[in-house]
Symmetry: C2
Subunit: 355 residues, 2 copies
């Protein structure tokens, strides 16, 4: 079984964790008889921008659209390219044009990792954030008026559609229905964001009629972030708009000790276009070049990719491998963010060896 | 010296914590020779709505505008009135019409309160959130199109002005400049929210030129929430848009153990209209009626009100009083959220007695 994967390391620590992501992928592939056909691309990075004045080649869509999946590192290098240019010119294009409308982000306290929350142990934090990934607050509609004067006004529109909202809600309800707790939490802010969010609440309630077995609750985003810290055990599946999902899927992993391990799947559930798998962490300019970035976010994203492609056993083996290495707790192997003195490579190799 | 205060308990636990807020205020006033002239109002509550079909009487603006300050409890009772109606019909009106453009929210780990964060002690968390309070993401501009059909589109505009942004940035820089650490953190999301937030970043940088002594940094809101949990000691003054400030000022207090103690000041710095003081917590329908809500958020808000009115000594005395009661740690006195078995009244009385 051959899988054609587009590999895009991107910027900063993306380039450092990607080799370890591939090492784990290849180890799992050879063990489970999967043939990986990898195509490497240097675009969707700020280096590419420096050379070409754009983040992507003109034919990027044609180039990527027939791959089985895209394996991405991280993008962004604000010292040379403003973030909104690098991101809107790459990752946010992929999500939209390939209609990856579900951003699925597990949040789980792993063995061997100390949570910054007092008295939390593995098992206490184990939920998914399901984030709408193509519309909402991330829009490019709007502009500046009276620019450069005292009267300056800047407007940005949040755009939500029934089409875009219902499909991600459906995914979230299905996921909740498939889990033992059958619990869905909706992130809202209908007391302050008075037009889109009350409508979001209506869609959540409406979709809920089809899933009588799923218990639904909702919190305004302000108190929801507070509850992530105070009661992370309350959550099973959390569904959120693009912006709220972005926030919750950084905050959740922070509560599990490090965002370095958090994976994400940008999914096109219908398979019309390739889905994209990337760690939640960004390019991390502050630690880039030091070889100390945690590769588990990338490796776990690779596992989610294999699972998405139908190789659940191989995916589970990868997860078991990094959990075992973490549980062992060999400080010389682990990266600094999880209390070790090792490197990206030492941790990546230990995981691949396990496999 | 007479201070004329409009007292509005509002809904839910607002009605329970207000008497304790007043008890502390009056104790401080009599000790420091301040004469309080209190006027009590039942509007801006969902009970009032039930009777009158609106949250406020038609002449509310005239009625309130000449008070020295407004002391508010909490508003919202979603079982009977949808949140966006109750909030836009009361609190959000006050903030806008009285041009209370700064929402100042201290976030401090108090003695005797256990943080949900591991290994944090008083002194480790001590910062202010300065929230823009009149514009931004909280707008009522937008609407629904193709309503009720598959083509439905819902749009909401975020509106930021130079006038509105610069004045709150100025307040935040001044506050940072007045503190020993002289550090300001800006909450942004200029990588995803591509029109308003890059502009926000520009205004932050521009205003920064006037304050060369203040060290400024910025984080995207997603990683900023993560850093509140992982590194709360990094922060001194955090400035944020209306929505981001709302989120950070619930998350921050959660990291200090309970949002029940967090106060807020909705300030009109020029004094053109009264400022408004209220706890950060809402009406809390889940615990309303039980008499167990923590009154410290209300009491501390009262202290901020006295400070705003020029009575710093009296304000400090209130803060010292509740810190002393918390440090004592008498479980029979403290409310359940801070590990006690007492009531709103037992805690309120203990604080007033101290005064
Ligand atoms: C009740 C709600 C509208 C309000 C807000 O979002 O401003 C509250 O959460 C606050 O923080 O004061
Ligand atoms: C880099 C940024 C645009 C992106 C986002 O906000 O979606 C990132 O934070 C993420 O969560 O994938």
């Amino acid at each position: 079984m051959t899988q054609r994967i587009a590999v895009i390391p991107g910027d900063g620590i993306g380039k450092e964790v990607m080799p370890e992501g591939l090492r784990a992928l290849e180890a799992a592939a050879s063990r489970f008889g999967i043939v990986l056909e990898l195509a490497h691309f240097d675009f969707a990075s700020c280096d590419y921008y420096a050379e070409h004045g754009q983040m992507l080649p003109d034919d990027w869509f044609e180039t990527l659209k027939d791959f089985d999946a895209i394996f991405y590192g991280a993008v962004g290098w604000p010292a040379t390219v403003p973030d909104h240019i690098s991101l809107w010119g790459s990752l946010l294009q992929f999500r939209r044009r390939f209609d990856q409308y579900v951003n699925l982000r597990p949040c789980r306290l792993l063995p061997g990792i100390k949570s910054p929350l007092a008295d939390r142990k593995p098992g206490d934090i184990d939920f998914y954030v399901v984030r709408e990934n193509t519309e909402g607050e991330y829009s490019s509609v709007g502009g500046r008026m009276f620019e450069g004067t005292e009267r300056e006004v800047v407007i940005q529109e949040t755009v939500m559609t029934r089409h875009g909202t219902d499909r991600v809600l459906k995914f979230a309800y299905e996921l909740a229905a498939s889990r033992p707790r059958k619990k869905l939490t909706s992130a809202t802010k209908s007391n302050g964001i008075a037009i889109t969010m009350p409508w979001w609440d209506e869609r959540v309630a409406e979709m809920g009629r089809r899933y009588p077995d799923v218990a639904v609750d909702q919190f305004h985003i302000d108190i929801l972030t507070a509850n992530f810290v105070m009661h992370p055990d309350w959550f099973d599946v959390v569904v959120a708009s693009n912006l709220f999902g972005d926030i919750l899927s950084d905050l959740g992993p922070a509560c599990t000790g490090t965002i370095g391990v958090a994976p994400s799947a940008n999914i096109n559930p219908e398979g019309t276009f390739p889905s994209l798998f990337e760690p939640v962490h960004g390019s991390a300019p502050d630690i880039a070049g030091k070889g100390i970035a945690n590769p588990i976010g990338q490796i776990w994203s690779g596992a989610m990719m294999l699972e998405h492609l139908g190789h659940r056993e191989a995916a589970d083996a990868i997860v078991a491998a990094f959990e075992a290495v973490l549980a062992e707790g060999d400080r010389a192997v682990l990266t600094p963010d999880v209390g070790g003195s090792g490197t990206t490579e030492s941790l990546g190799r230990a995981i691949a060896t396990r496999l």
